[in-house]
């Protein structure tokens, strides 16, 4: 920090000490830049929210020795996959394993308040200067639009830096203020995620979920009879001493059908296959957060002179895979590297900032988001993937494995009939083709 001429100056200002922000701060500070990391919460993590599981590949890119720094993870994800809820049954399609080539688990179940606090501490260890309890409200700009600092809600709260990295999350007011995106995301492209963190003894969690011990954990995406046949998806994560159980439903759907999200969640928690898993648990925390699900087509412009945008603020989420944390971390890292390059060249113009978009294109972030660009559109027009098929799958398997004392031929006719009652076979074939296109990005 340099205060000659009365102005408070840094080399880089990062707005938001979430996953993207602390990553950007870590990279820039490690290279020796003076970094201010501004967070509106009492401390980092208190505003941040997810399902969820954090992917280690992203953390390792910044901190190869992350395990020795004792991250507040819950459990390694040793079993992951889909659960299909029927009227009262449940079909699990999960895989066990989930390790990277070097044997580290690819993901850990996590709670964000402790994790993001730790993540910001790693940035502070590299020398980033954390400024908590401070909300950035606007930018300081040159007449030509070049960003040269931020205004905060503190008295005399103007801070100057030639690069500002905006990591403000899904409510991207500042990104809009800069004109990088022209309007709010639409309710049809935003899912409202809500969950309950439910305390249970670890042995009970192990027994109920078939986990041998606390070094094993489950991450399940739950489809089917979760959101009343409307676009939505549930989740169950086993933490050390708690469960994170929740769901995401499109905001437009809640509005159009006049649904109260907590009633949809309660209905899901009371489902005959879910209720026994959470029975006797104590509610530790309820909450909610938006997920930008529009992906590629909803991304704002990613840079302007003196400013870069990373993470949820730039709609970097792969909704089908619940991947947002890794995109935020890697985008933050790439933004930090771009700030570094700009300082190296003493050039903070659009031309150098554009290198950030180039870096994103080379990474999995833009490649995946581009590949999945049709996916949210697809779910809008094919809600059956969220309901009819998962429910069918569960019911069909239920029939398959039940000894009814009836000829099997009759039984299979019945199974097929239960699908065609819901959707014509031709329609189903067409759905499969368009699903393939949406995922593969054809």
């Amino acid at each position: 920090m340099n205060t000659t001429d009365e102005r408070i100056r840094f080399d880089v200002i990062v707005v938001g000490a979430g996953l993207a922000g602390s990553a950007a701060a870590m990279v820039a500070a490690r290279a020796g830049l003076d970094v201010a990391l501004i967070e509106r919460g009492q401390k980092p993590g208190g505003k941040n929210y997810f399902g969820g599981a954090i992917y280690t590949h992203a953390i390792a890119e910044l901190l190869p020795d992350f395990m020795s720094r004792r991250p507040p993870f819950e459990r390694p994800v040793t079993e992951a996959g889909f659960w299909f809820l029927g009227a009262d049954g449940l079909t699990r399609v999960t895989v066990q394993g989930g390790k990277l080539a070097d044997g580290t688990p690819d993901a850990y179940t996590t709670l964000r308040a402790p994790f993001d606090l730790w993540w910001a501490e790693q940035a502070q260890k590299e020398g980033a200067f954390l400024i908590p309890k401070t909300t950035v409200v606007d930018f300081i700009r040159e007449p030509d639009g070049q960003v040269v600092g931020v205004k905060t809600d503190r008295p005399q709260g103007e801070l100057y830096a030639p690069v500002v990295i905006i990591c403000e999350g899904v409510n991207n007011l500042l990104t809009q203020k800069l004109g990088l995106s022209e309007h709010d995301l639409e309710p049809a492209h935003l899912a409202l995620g809500i969950k309950q963190v439910i305390a249970l003894p670890p042995e009970t969690i192990n027994a109920r979920f078939g986990l041998p011990d606390g070094d094993h954990g489950l991450a399940a995406s739950v489809l089917g009879n979760v959101s009343l046949g409307l676009p939505g998806m549930g989740f169950v994560y086993t933490n050390s001493k708690t469960l994170s159980v929740g769901l995401g439903v499109m905001l437009a759907t809640l509005a159009e059908y006049k649904l109260k999200p907590y009633e949809v969640l309660e209905r899901y928690l009371k489902h005959p296959a879910i209720a026994p898993l959470v029975a006797g648990g104590q509610l530790l925390e309820y909450g909610g957060h938006l997920i930008p699900e529009g992906g590629y087509h909803d991304m704002p412009k990613l840079y302007t002179g003196g400013a870069l945008v990373a993470g949820d603020a730039a709609a970097m989420v792969n909704a089908l895979h619940w991947e947002g944390t890794n995109m935020a971390i890697i985008a933050g890292k790439l933004a930090g590297e771009t700030a570094l390059e700009a300082h190296g060249r003493s050039d903070f113009s659009q031309r150098v900032m554009a290198g950030y978009a180039e870096r994103l294109k080379q990474s999995f972030i833009l490649q995946d988001l581009k590949q999945y660009r049709r996916f949210s559109q697809f779910l809008d027009t094919h809600p059956e993937f969220m309901d009819i098929y998962p429910t069918f799958l569960n019911d069909a398997l239920g029939d398959f494995f039940t000894a009814y004392g009836r000829p099997k031929k009759e039984l299979f006719k019945g199974i097929l009939g239960s699908l065609t009652r819901r959707r014509s076979l031709l329609g189903a074939a067409g759905d499969l083709i368009s699903m393939g296109r949406a995922v593969l990005g054809w």
Partner: protein
């Protein structure tokens, strides 16, 4: 049916709606920690006359912590203290009739688990 306020109201089959349990939201709210800014609300209704004309009042439904309720006089009341700052009402009010700011630094929801 196309709503006069920009989006389509859709019917949920009554039998399905009946499967939704009643929830006492206060039971959920007690689990959330807040630093409440008593002096500066960060949310308010811009124009109550617009709410009076708003046919479906979706803010009464989608808010995950039931901040918006209907008072006896038919006015929308805003219990901003319970807000978890998700942003749903910022984009979900069809008339853009909710003034939405971030709370002042340090105030608002403070998740312990997240």
């Amino acid at each position: 049916m196309k709503r006069n306020d920009g989006f389509e109201a859709k019917e949920l089959p009554a039998a399905l709606r009946e499967t939704l349990p009643d929830v006492y939201v206060d039971d959920l709210l007690v689990s959330i920690k807040y630093f409440i800014d008593e002096e500066h609300p960060h949310l308010w209704i811009e124009d109550h006359a617009i709410c009076a004309r708003c046919q479906y009042k979706p803010c009464l439904d989608f808010c995950p912590v039931n901040v918006y309720t209907l008072a006896h006089d038919g006015k929308i009341q805003v219990a901003y203290q319970a807000c978890v700052e998700c942003g749903s009402c910022r984009v979900g009010c069809p008339y853009g009739n909710i003034s939405w700011q971030l709370p002042r630094g340090g105030y608002g929801v403070a998740y312990k688990f997240g």
